[in-house]
Structures are given as structure tokens and as C-alpha cells.
């Protein structure tokens, strides 16, 4: 039925298993990288559209609290409230720090080509295919670059990474059946570990608030509504209300 030495047969089996696992790994890495990039793009979009309104609301709320505190210098509670509101307002402003400087962020929608390219890179370069630490470090570096390129939708960069890898001398494997068997088994083990980690990382992402919000927005869009827009409307309504209160105080002046 089967031919060759037991080692050869075992190696054949393990190689087949490895090939299957490599494919699965590439797909899982792609899924994870896609989710991460989608969420990152969404987060920036959210901060630009809604985050800024929260910050504006916080700023006005702080102004209102400070104005009220000014009228009641003896009221410790009002002084505290004003300080808290101010702290919140600066926290929100700080959160937005570099958001405004960022380039406009569209939703992350990877093309089929980009995905295919990423899968190819992941299959070849994945750090869990390394069997020594220097090699792993090199793969880690290249893979991180690939992840960045993928997240930025940079097809040219991904292609360059792939080409460079394919032509590098270290991509040539060594020989010897026993050594090869050990390497293969080790790779299989590493990939299985990484697959478990990917599941963990994915579920961490999926438990994040960004994901919850992202899903909500997606779902609302599927039913023809724009949730971010609704949120903005609601926040603008609140902002207008505080504006009115502030203006009322300013025009009425010391009536309290």
C-alpha cells in the first residue's frame, strides 16, 4: 500500500498536515488582519464624526459648570462639579489630540487581490514557520510590515514584501529526512499554538467597544439607517441645549 521507510511515510503524512494547516493559518491571519484594519478605520471615522462632538459637548458642559461655580464660591459641591467637568473636557480633547491631523479615513474594504496577496505572504513568511529564533525574529519583522501594508491597503508594498521574500536565499530549505521530520512537527505545533492565539486575539477584538459600535453601525446601515448620523444629530441637540443655557446665563447675568 504505502512505500518508503517509516520515516518517509511519517514525513509525508506530517507534510500533508502542515500544508493544510498553513492554508488555514493564512486564512485566519487574513481574517484577523481584516478585522483589525476595519476596526482601526472605523475608530478613526468615529472619532472624527462623533468623538469631536462629545469633546465639544464636554467643553460646553465644563464652561456651564464653571460659570455656575463662579456664582457660588462657597458651594464646595459646585466647585467639585466644575473641576470634574473641566477634567473630563480636557480628557476628551486630549483623546482627539492627533485625530484631526490624520488623513481622512474611509472604511477599510480590502480588494480580492489584496487579500490574496496577504494570504500568500502569510503562508510563506509566517513566524510560526520558523524553527530557530533568529529566523523567527526576521519573520516577525517582515510579517509586521505585511500587516501594516495590508491595513493601509498598500498592494504595491505587499507585493514588494512577497517578491523580496521569495528571492531571499534563506527561503531555501535544508535537507535530511530526520531533521526535516523534526522541523515539520515543530512547525505544526507552532501553527496550532498560533491558531489558538488568533482565536484569542479575535475574541478580544470582538469584545471591544469599537467592535460593538462597529457592528451596530453596520447593522443599522443594512436596514437603511445611518446610526453615526443619528448619534451626531442627538449630540448636536444636546450641544445646542447647553449653548442655550450658557447664553441664557450670560445675557441674564447675575440672577442666581
Amino acid at each position: 500500500m504505502s512505500h518508503g521507510t517509516p520515516e518517509e511515510r511519517e514525513l509525508g503524512k506530517k507534510r500533508a498536515e502542515l500544508v493544510e494547516l498553513e492554508t488555514e493559518l493564512a486564512q485566519r491571519e487574513l481574517d484577523l488582519a481584516t478585522l483589525a484594519a476595519e476596526l482601526r478605520a472605523f475608530e478613526v471615522r468615529y472619532l472624527r464624526a462623533i468623538g469631536v462632538l462629545f469633546a465639544e459637548l464636554d467643553e460646553l458642559t465644563a464652561q456651564l459648570a464653571e460659570s455656575q461655580a463662579l456664582d457660588h464660591p462657597q458651594d464646595a459641591q459646585q466647585q467639585h462639579a466644575a473641576a470634574d467637568a473641566r477634567a473630563e473636557a480636557s480628557a476628551s480633547a486630549e483623546a482627539l489630540g492627533d485625530v484631526d491631523q490624520q488623513r481622512p479615513m474611509a472604511a477599510f474594504v480590502p480588494s480580492t487581490d489584496l487579500k490574496r496577496l496577504y494570504r500568500e505572504v502569510a503562508k510563506l513568511v509566517h513566524p510560526d514557520l520558523a524553527t530557530d529564533s533568529a529566523e523567527r525574529a526576521r519573520r516577525d519583522r517582515v510579517m509586521a510590515g505585511a500587516n501594516r501594508a495590508y491595513g493601509n491597503g498598500d498592494e504595491a508594498r505587499l507585493r514588494a514584501i512577497l517578491d523580496e521574500w521569495v528571492s531571499s536565499p534563506e527561503a531555501v530549505p535544508g535537507e535530511g529526512i530526520a531533521a526535516e521530520l523534526v522541523r515539520t512537527i515543530r512547525k505544526i505545533h507552532q501553527i496550532q499554538q498560533r491558531l489558538a492565539n488568533i482565536e484569542g486575539e479575535t475574541s478580544t477584538l470582538k469584545r471591544s467597544d469599537s467592535f460593538v459600535l462597529f457592528k451596530r453601525v453596520e447593522e443599522s446601515r443594512a436596514s437603511g439607517r445611518d446610526l453615526l448620523d443619528q448619534m451626531a444629530t442627538e449630540l448636536r441637540r444636546r450641544i445646542a441645549a447647553i449653548h442655550a443655557a450658557l447664553n441664557g446665563r450670560r445675557s441674564g447675568e447675575v440672577t442666581a
Partner: protein, 301 residues
Amino acid sequence: MSDHTADPQHSLVATTGGPLARRAALVQRGVVLAASLVDGGSGATKAPPPPAWSAQPESLRRMWEDFTRGVFLAFNQGQLGVLVDAFDAGVDAACEVFGITRSNEQQPAEVARTLYSAAAAAPVWTSLDGSKGPIFSNGTNHLIALLESRDDFRAEWQEYVVENELDGFVDALETFLFEVWRLATPDGADPFLARHVTGFVVGSRAIARAKSRIGRSTSDGTSIEVVLPALAAQSADATIDRWFKRPGDLVQRDEPLLRLTAGDDLAAWIPSPVSGTLAEVRAENGATVSFNTVVGVITIA
């Protein structure tokens, strides 16, 4: 451990103080605000509880059975023809839903177009937001385009599926069926089954990928343990919906053994890893089981 995804650009979840944590706080406030707008407030968008399986129209239940069978066989045994049959059955069911008579002379493309206009005119769209059919069109338009370019629906379409990506085809089919379900529920509810259309495709793919890990030989080599492979990252366990076989029954390799659901909307069938006799069922219908545990034992034929 590999940490190439852990570089700062890739970390979304803020764990320390500073701007990242403050951003997380802003996002969290967004979640709260969104929830108040979606769940409370108008209340118009809150989906009613899904109708029971038995309360679904017969045509939709048939469509679901055909669809799941088609997806299962296509992914696990490479039988693509069954998907075409599943779509055909879907069109039949949709015609029933929209009260369209489908004659044998009609070309599938014609049927699909009639269906599309019926669906676009359905009150459900105008009751949503007045903009008609953008969702419905994704799946259906794709299918109509496919159908229009071919005379012999069955033979040529199978060819198309083989030549092109199975995944793309299944996606189009999935969208189409999902839409029919949505439209078939006049109040715009999102019924259990509609959710599972998508979940079944995802689940079936996962099972097909994990197939080699479903069977595990016992120490004496006479039996194979059926191991539940991990289906989804977002949940650690699955619920056994139904065993298709009982202890003592003969099973063929790749034949569906049991059906399970995981998380909110994932569903899948588990194929038998070998031919033999189902000797033991270790987790009954309705049981919740962690992934990678043994749910049954098959004696090798």
C-alpha cells in the same frame, strides 16, 4: 510567541492610560449613546422575537432544508450541482412568498427579474426608509446577471460555479436567500432562520476546514471518536441542535451526523469522519458542549 500583530499600530484595545485609554472612553460613550438610540428612543428598529421554526411558512422551511443541504454537500463533498438545486428551490419558495406563478417555460432569469420587481415593490421597503432595494439588489442582481448570460440554466451554471470561485457563488446565493427571508416577514423582523443563512455558510466553511480533526482513533483502534471542532472564535462552545443518527444506526463517511449552533447565529452540520455504526452518543440533543470534546463514538465498519 508570535507577536507581530501586537505592534502599536495594531493595538486597538487600550490597556494603559494616556490618549489611547481616553479614546477608549470616548468609544464607550458612543456605545451607550448608540444603544439608547437603537433600543430605546424611537423603538421602531427593535426587532420582535423571531417566530418559531414551526410557524415559518412551509415554503421557507423547505428552502432552508435545501439550502443547508446544498451548502453542506458543496463544501464537504465538492458536489456543486446541489447548490444550483438549492437556488432553484429558493426561487420556487420566493415565488410562493410573493405570489408569483412560475411556469416551466419561463427562463430562470425572467423569474428572478419578476421576483426582483415584486420584492422592490413590497411595502417592507417603503416602511423602512423609502430607498428601495439596495440590499436586495446585491444578491439578486448578481444572480440575474449570471442567469441572463446563460441559456441552459443547470448545465452551464454548474460550469460557471466550477470555473469561478465557489465562495463567490455561495455568497451570492446566501445574500439572495437572506433577502427573501427578510422580505417574507412583512414587519421587517429578522427571524432566526434568516440569521442562520449567513451563519450556516460560515459554519460550513469552518467545518470543511477542520474536517481532518473531527475523527480521532481510540487506543484499541476499533472505533473513531467524533470530536467537535472549534467553529467560531467568538464562542467557546456549541449547542447540539439535533442528531440525525441514533446509536445502532449505520453511517457513511461524510454523511451529516448532527447539527449544531454556536454563538448568536452560527450553525453547521458535522459530517461523519468514517463509515461505520454509531455506537455511542455522549452529548444529547440540546446539550451545550465545549469545542474539542468527544460527542460520540463510531465503530469502524
